[in-house]
Symmetry: C2
Subunit: 402 residues, 2 copies
């Protein structure tokens, strides 16, 4: 297959988006919802604040142009108490932050501006309060029924605050799919085993799982399949029965032991595409199973697998949870990068904001797609479009975080 | 207390840093380590790659200036097999990606450049292989013993890959502290209860918990204390016995019901500071308990509490886990902002990268420190230093994410 017949990045993304299933939604407790994707709109349960709310500790009085300098203590209105009434313009009611403003009052004078003398409060010399001060008026933030949150938002601290303030002890969120991450290859041994001749440790599965766990995917199984056609078929049959998403690494190139595409085909997983005009990650394969399982088969090289996982798999899974896609991050290249004019190239990069507030990327090219020893000192990959053999310093390019 | 006597942001940060305890470390399974902070260095267990590694599916041959165009199949070397030997320069060994390079070979020819004819492989017309091609040489990524990861790194996908590749089935990480998040105030009711007159729902606790959970803090209890001096004392006694960190909200101003500072003092929690020259969040209090518990007492207003939590509490906790602090993010202001020349002001902002790769912040000022209804459409707060009544558009300022 010549390079010009391969899919572009945009074509691959569009095909994935067209075919990805939804994983539905579920109702979970609010205190378990950090990082989950909201699948409901949220409206104000009541006015915010629900009453004229005192903003300072002090006294509440009835303002006038001829406001007295001394007030007789006529009661107290603490936060959480039902509403008191001030009968008299020469009187005052002690108030605390968060209390309802007492009936008959329209001015709060903070304790720092007061002297207390048994049953009286005096304004300190020179202090001139104004009408309406330190009152957070009912409904001034929003009126009951205002739409506050939309489906598709990720639940961080501000969203959690609004959910709680509006009485949502449980919340409808995107249901996380059951994901199997499957490495293939006879040369791969478990992290806990000792290495024999010709062996290396499995690392793609844990790397991809870590990337997904950091985005809230919590139902992940790690599996390994040896290079054997019958074993591949058997295990894939079981995994397709048990999971919503399969992410395979290895076995998708053109070698005689690349059993994965044929095995998937035999199991009714319909190929949507195979190969993208990119480096690394050209052999990536994507298909849809008979029960709408999403199957991503990534190359086995560590850098290739990770790039495909963060560039295609993670965003597709987040959209399937219901997340509204965030704008793509862009960065300025600090140095020129040699690239392949026929392929989109992904190059690991260290990113920092400079003194002008620009995100600047220092490319850290991996020597081979098997070399991942330098990746921990990078933040992700810059995406360099095809067309030129060299992308100059100062170019603004897409950036995708690990 | 006049504004000039308050602590600056930098002074408050330095005092917190001086006093924060370490929470120690623990050994956990690698597949549970996403987002945790590494507390050990990691060195290469062996050379990477550990052998001369084949990078393509195809054949391995012995290169020479007079390389034949046809090779006799003399064996196969699959990934994971122990090393084969090529006896003869006219022969070839079938190889798969990830296999050891057979002895006697120094060139890999990819399957795309070959035609197979029973027991022979022929180079396709015009193809000229070069010596050493498609071989990922032993130790070319790094030699055994190379330092690959340092203590203080957060475990994301690339770090997890290296941990796995070097045989660390378990890993030493910062132990997360046991944290109690405590709201105070009679006006506050639980998210699941119905609202009475003068009441609002608790939301600071869940907001702070959500912010911390998203950074890997998983041992969090939510508590509520009514405005009662004896209850405050009793509950704080128990909480100081059970937790490493207390984060209180409310009860730290100057009102007659602000029992928190006195109660903490009576329990032997030594005040490190009270009040910072900032808006919102001026009344923030920080102290250290008799068992080195860190106690943060934040103001009760939702915006104030959240700003203090993300600006001081979260970074301090991450450093105490052993995390190497990341450089502070900076952004350009898209619009001018009115500010208070005596105080550092935090203003919620929406941040996006523009076409030049600059992070641009659109300020979304909250009308009051009680108004959090607009926060979900922002990404964090810009930090505007004191000194001017207005910060002009185009200024580059610190940005702190929710």
């Amino acid at each position: 297959m010549s390079l010009t017949e391969l899919l572009s990045i945009a074509e691959a993304e569009a095909l994935i988006a067209q075919h990805m299933p939804s994983f539905g939604s579920e109702r979970i407790r609010l205190d378990r919802a950090a990082g989950r994707i909201l699948r409901q709109a949220v409206h104000a349960e009541h006015d915010h604040p629900p009453f004229d709310r005192v903003m300072m500790d002090g006294i509440a009085v009835r303002w006038s142009a001829s406001l007295p300098r001394e007030f007789t203590l006529a009661g107290s209105q603490m936060a959480g108490m039902s509403m008191q009434t001030l009968a008299d313009a020469t009187g005052c009611i002690e108030v605390t932050t968060g209390a309802m403003l007492p009936i008959g009052c329209d001015c709060v004078i903070p304790v720092e501006q007061l002297r207390r003398d048994s049953a009286h409060y005096q304004l300190i010399d020179g202090y001139q309060p104004s009408r309406g001060q330190f009152i957070h008026a009912r409904a001034s933030d929003c009126v009951a029924g205002t739409r506050l949150l939309e489906a598709g938002m990720r639940i961080g601290a501000p969203e959690a605050a609004l959910l709680a303030a509006n009485g949502l002890a449980s919340v409808e969120v995107g249901k996380t799919p059951s994901i199997a991450i499957v490495s293939t290859g006879d040369e791969l041994v478990d992290v806990g085993s000792s290495l024999g001749e010709g062996q290396i440790r499995r690392s793609n599965d844990i790397a991809i799982a870590t990337a997904l766990r950091l985005h809230g995917f919590d139902r992940i199984a790690l599996e390994h399949i040896a290079d054997d056609v019958a074993a591949t078929q058997d295990r894939l049959t079981r995994l397709l029965g048990e999971h919503d998403v399969l992410i395979l690494s290895g076995g998708v190139s053109m070698g005689q032991r690349d059993y994965v595409p044929a095995a998937l085909d035999a199991l009714g997983v319909r190929r949507v595409f195979h190969r993208i005009a990119q480096r690394p990650g050209k052999p990536m394969w994507f298909g849809i199973g008979p029960r709408q399982q999403a199957v991503f088969a990534l190359p086995g090289n560590p850098v290739s697998a990770l790039v495909c996982a963060i560039r295609y798999v993670k965003p597709a899974l987040l959209v399937s949870l219901g997340m509204k896609p965030a704008p793509t991050e862009v960065v300025r290249l600090e140095a020129e990068v040699d690239t392949n004019p026929m392929l989109t190239c992904f190059v690991p990069a260290y990113v920092q904001t400079d003194a002008q507030g620009r995100s600047v990327a220092r490319p850290v090219p991996a020597r081979t797609s098997g070399d991942f020893s330098a990746l921990p000192h990078t933040h992700g990959v810059v995406q360099l479009p095809p067309g030129n053999a060299r992308v100059p310093a100062g170019s603004v390019v897409e950036f995708h975080r690990w």
